[in-house]
Symmetry: D2
């Protein structure tokens, strides 16, 4: 029997609409480095969807690449980037930010989020210290929506962060690697437009949301990163065949596909969460999006592992483990049904 | 009328075999970051094609990315990389190598090649200087095959470079962005196996040779770059969906496809060169591969530009310009025929 | 009335012996960049004092410079340096380590020290994580002796750290910015020889221990940092007139001067600690060396500040503050007596 | 017999006025990191001497340190620094600039100078290239006064460079490592005030002009490098005992000492040049300052080397060598006389 895959939201290829579009356009010769008409069309659709007709939009192959390129381009050498301690840039990028010369200034987070209160305290303490010129200067605030823990900032929370950023003249940057799963979430009150207007720069995730590769960086505050095209090239992040990214995002932003894909993942997640609840599985904590964290007895986990590919998260205690199930744009309904059936057996 | 595109070898998408294979495998869930079975299969095919059963093989999205990641991983901080002054790493990468902290040590090249004599003189002068500990230490030799000018190293030339590298304990690295167009060239006497054995590390170009994206880094000297996986991630160059690269290279290295694609490009180039000769166009210099450099009178160029997309190379004199035509795996026979027809008209 | 200065151990110039030696040698022409006879003599004295006849010794102008140059030279690009979270490299160097591209891997410390237990747990967790190749690889362990909090590692503690480093093949580096104040301490059981043999590389502090500037980097494990001379130059840390550092260290390591200077500081500190105790001042925590941390009521602090220059350390609570008094090689006996007299008044 | 030292202008210690001032102030406790009163007084004197009452002035230990810190602080990540190919930053700093992530954009120089014509051509070619966003962006222009070859920019030449910089919005930076020997030169028409007003930032050399260590960075364009204090610390270049630099520069800028020291060196150089001419030695090229380059037959050189320490510059041909004599603030009159006597013997 084939195993059921719930390990991540990047385990399948790309949505068929993109595949088909790649096929249709495959032999059309175009210019390189993202200067082609597919990229330009995709940029226009994204600007329009964001309500930012003047925004700059750049496509880049992956999330770490996007984060390091944006952050390094926005910072001056003496600056670091503030992040929740659980932020992707702090823990999961093999030191990519530091490799560009910048310290990640970790602030205690709350279930993946950077609380406005914690940010304010950090900045007040920093500037209250008479010796702060001896320390790395804060130069940007990094958040993710949804977070690495699947949680969401509310519009109120984002607005508070924005106000602090304005007060301290800090640009706000949002990592939207899984943005489709925020936008499609019922609990979410932050629209794409809101996010675009509340941040200085953010990226719309493609890799985890229906594309094979690609993230779309949207820059509202254009003074922040002059010559960003050159920076992308310098980071080795400029694809010769930028068409791949332009076609992917052009397709995702046609006929509401990005939303459709997100909605599917959340419907699958909702079914799975419901079944977990009904079978009395213990949530590590509840999340509104497509990542589901549960605490599993190690004996049960062994059985689960025979049929299901999940993601190890962390040790809980000597007899329990935290694991993650992820649904995505690609999760088959029948796989969810099978997993639900299995849950009944396991908890029996 | 549609224009004829001869501007570059990265203006179309991917060969249909890869597209089809992407379609077939699209919904198969696999693990991320290049640990999937498609990548593993592609690695095995490449190891076998290179005659290096123990080589490490990594896939990366583009050429500048490959160059900067390999060079930065191989060098210690006090070292630089020697390159012909015309080398891609010196001129065309927006300072990507320097951004990793390393100087490019430019040595005068000859039609894109690094002559063994020039390398030897550079090293003798360097180590002959009593103050050489005050200077950037040479830490690697970079070459490209074919070069940025479409020229080729002979096996004899490569062997001489290798001997110098051995003498000075320098690793030799070859950039094979257009390697298919070297391997398929009749004048070429350096096989894939030869290149793999004469270098410490090299990469097999995919982006310009039939894939949408991707380069395969082949490491014979595994002690050179320990933890290269971590380096790739640190450079932001690790694709979550490594399958794209694995599927692409697995396909290119099945049934001799890589050679077939290269051969097509060279056949198209041969026809075009023949026509240029017959119509008395002036070659900037002759090249054996898919890049063709000609000197064109500016008046003629204006007419040419109405029907053909070519690549500006450099100003020749006040009334002439050097341009490049490139053929590729994707160049249609009928486009070559049309361009040949046009050449007759223009030179008439 | 002149204020009493107890703010730091770098508030006066240099010990008179060095000043006199500078005067004597001032017009002797010598070669530059640390190749002169004063530097060579100082190296020999240091090698001898360390019991390491084959060690490499380099002089550098300051502590942050020494730390960043050593750490960056020892690490490969994919590595970071482990430090107690309170380590100088983590908190007090304006991101100098990250600027060289390396993450500081902070481990919870204990009063400035990196406990062997904490180090072992960090490494076991790291290598126990199946995904550790996705993370910054530990490449060095940084400690300071005495620590930033004036505490000392015992020989037993250092030996345990060494064993862990051996097990994980990690070099151990000690920052000895205030080493004279460790070596002269009665509670200390780690000799200069011990430190030199238990670490791969460490530095002997001059700036805070009697010299105007200068730290002596002693490298037992010479394979760790090849071409370190070139690295120093690349970091901008190579003084043209290296004689200044050679003369300073040559003097400090003649006739036991380094020990004499340390002993004076500790005698002054002992008197002051005794007086603080007698007058019932509250120690933030007790330290065996020249830095004294006390918790002072804010009202008392205001009075103290009228006559004494001290160092603010941190807020304790709404009505108390932690301050630091530091003695040094230069602290006048009469200043200590005056401060002691003042303490009686204040606590009255 | 003692040899005569003419190898460099950094072979003795410091001028006696600084030594005496260090002695006088040695036990005065002051605050660290250049915040002391000696530094502040020196800054005021320098501002006044430069006619820039609002300039920022920072002290740093050496020339490479100054260059890398200024250049890295002024550039954004996608920028490089333009320099004559013979510039110190391009050839003599062990890759210190590249280590900060920036390419040195070398332009053909003329006897050490960057000709306005060459600069203009470089910029016109760069911006004339349609692909210039694919390349390192010029972000600063570096010159040295006097140059590494002892030559001088005239006020006219500097003004032309300034105009080009203004046109292209590029800051102009001058390395004044040997500035005293320019200012004291009869042929020089660029005053300290001129240099301060024609550049955005420059540094006044101390190490080679009478101090033991130290360069004074003078920033007219304060918007160029915000938080430069933090940058200095991040580069490891902030001395705890900044007093050393403050006292040195305060002394050099009191009673015209800096000019006096420069004048002495040039008088010694003039005598030596005169004797060389009289004895028919061949100048490599003539220089107006304290560095003298002569072409010597190898046989004569052997004899010379028995009595004189000179500086090897480069091989001239199989039987001749270019060497450098340098005079300085410290060159004894009697040494010059002895060398002149020797020249007569050798050329006899």
């Amino acid at each position: 029997m084939e195993k059921l895959y719930f390990a991540s939201d990047y385990q399948e290829g790309m949505c068929e609409e993109i595949l088909e579009r790649l096929r249709e356009t495959n032999r059309v010769p175009v210019s390189g480095y993202g200067t082609d008409e597919y990229c330009e069309a995709a940029r226009e659709k994204i600007r329009s969807a964001c309500g930012l007709p003047d925004a700059e939009v750049f496509f880049i192959s992956g999330g770490t690449q996007a984060n390091k390129t944006v952050i390094a381009a926005a910072l001056r050498e003496y600056q670091g980037v503030i992040s929740a301690d659980t932020g992707h840039v702090n823990l999961h990028e093999a030191g990519a930010i530091e490799y560009t010369g910048h310290k990640v200034l970790a602030v205690p987070g709350d279930h993946g989020k950077l609380p406005a209160k914690a940010l304010r305290e950090y900045l007040e303490t920093f500037y209250g210290d008479a010796n702060h010129e001896h320390m790395v200067q804060p130069g940007m605030v990094y958040i993710s929506q949804p977070t690495e823990y699947g949680t969401l900032y509310s519009k109120q929370e984002l607005t508070e962060l924005r106000e602090i950023c304005d007060q301290y003249e800090l640009p706000l940057y949002a990592d939207g690697a899984r943005l489709a799963y925020a936008l499609a979430c019922e609990e979410n009150d932050v629209t794409l437009c809101d996010l675009a207007h509340l941040t200085d720069v953010f990226y719309i995730g493609g890799t985890k949301c229906g594309a094979m590769i690609g993230e779309a960086i949207v820059i509202r505050n254009k003074a922040l990163m002059p010559h960003f095209f050159t920076s992308i090239k310098q980071h080795g992040a400029l694809l010769a065949k930028g068409r791949l990214l332009g076609i992917s995002f052009g397709t995702l932003f046609t006929n509401g596909l990005y939303e459709t894909l997100g909605t599917h993942a959340l419907e699958m997640a909702a079914k799975l969460k419901q079944a977990l609840r009904e079978n009395h599985w213990k949530f590590f904590f509840e999340t509104p999006t497509n990542q589901i964290f549960v605490v599993v007895e190690n004996e049960v986990l062994k059985q689960l592992g025979e049929s299901v590919v999940y993601s190890f998260w962390e040790k809980y205690d000597d007899t329990h483990t935290v694991i993650r199930f992820a649904t995505s744009w690609a999760t088959p309904q029948e796989d969810v049904d099978q997993l639900i059936g299995l849950l009944r057996t396991l908890s029996a």
